[in-house]
């Protein structure tokens, strides 16, 4: 992975001028529509639209030079239009530079490329709560809970005859990480669902996944 300018203290940062489709695509869409409906608003606006059609992502303007950056080669977003790719770079640039994001959170590339190297110690040492959540998701909740020694809060046999558990891990600076562990009767695989940290029993946990209060959750058949 290449060193980013934010990590390389030997490089100075030069402010971008926010001039390119990375920031002005919205204006370009508005102006193209405006021009189609009501005609040109003048040469300057027309030139700006044509400039953006050339494909600059952003620029840094100096007295003597203008540095123009090209658009990305590849971009991955989640359903909420945030940069996201749990399997590789979320943004791939023409010169080989890569950006990694998980649901809009910028993360180091090795977290995504080598998630097996993420340890419980690394997760618990992370002081940034948002990054810690990303680390847990990349590490896999199941492995994290097992290796972190999560406490069993409750156990029961569900309606399908499967043994299930409510597991909990406390953090000093974030809400407890609590999951309901169950066995899928059709595949035999163990699954986990993150549940509200306020529930205290397996039945409450299951009911909460159906947005129901525990006393109303009473299925006659489970398949």
């Amino acid at each position: 992975m290449v060193t980013t300018w934010t990590e390389n203290s030997n490089l100075l940062y030069y402010g971008f001028n926010y001039t390119g489709v990375g920031f002005d695509a919205g204006w370009a869409a508005w102006y193209e529509h405006e021009k189609a409906q009501n005609g040109s608003r003048g040469e300057d606006s027309d030139k700006m639209l044509e400039f953006l059609k050339c494909g600059p992502w952003d620029c840094v303007f100096f007295e003597e030079a203008a540095i123009v950056c090209a658009r990305p080669v590849e971009v991955h977003l989640d359903d909420n239009q945030r940069l996201h790719n749990p399997h590789g770079p979320a943004v791939r640039w023409r010169d080989g530079y890569l950006n990694y994001f998980i649901h809009g959170v910028s993360v180091p590339g090795d977290w995504v490329e080598e998630p097996h190297t993420i340890s419980v110690t690394r997760v618990l040492e992370e002081r940034n709560v948002e990054l810690r959540r990303v680390l847990i998701s990349l590490m896999g909740s199941e492995r994290f809970l097992r290796e972190a020694g999560a406490v069993v809060v409750d156990e029961w046999i569900d309606g399908g005859g499967q043994k299930c558990r409510l597991l909990r891990l406390e953090f000093s600076d974030d809400e407890p990480y609590q999951v309901y562990e169950f066995k899928d009767p059709s595949t035999g695989k163990t699954g986990i669902l993150r549940v509200n940290p306020n529930v205290r029993t397996c039945k409450e946990a299951v009911a909460s996944t159906f947005q129901q209060a525990v006393d109303l959750y009473n299925p006659s058949v489970e398949t």
């Binding site: 390389n8 030069y14 100096f62 090209a70």
Partner: protein, 100 residues
């Protein structure tokens, strides 16, 4: 949003994010136009492949000696410098040791 507005908006989103990274060389002409509007002389235009590449290019043009030293330990910086040097050569521009 009417149909035409939606169509144009979708087109620009697609263009910005999903249609490759080609940069039309005519971008230099429009930059010259904007500089001229501000009573400035035509600048040297350097094209780069990423925001980080743009930062490296800025560092190189401002302080070539220091950036060349950094390039000895960083292959990415070295590749950007090579690309900038190629563009300078095509434009017959000599980069002074003290930078632009």
């Amino acid at each position: 949003m009417n149909d035409l507005a939606k169509q144009i908006s979708d087109k620009w989103e697609k263009f910005a994010l999903y249609e490759g990274s080609e940069l039309d060389p005519k971008v230099s002409d429009y930059i010259s136009f904007f500089y001229k509007k501000d009573n400035r002389k035509t600048p040297l235009t350097i094209l780069t492949g990423s925001p980080y590449g743009a930062q490296v290019a800025c560092n190189y043009l401002s302080n070539p000696t220091k950036t060349r030293v950094l390039a000895k330990k960083d292959a990415f910086i070295a590749s950007v410098i090579a690309d900038v040097d190629r563009q300078l050569q095509e434009k017959n521009v000599n980069l002074p040791e003290g930078g632009l």
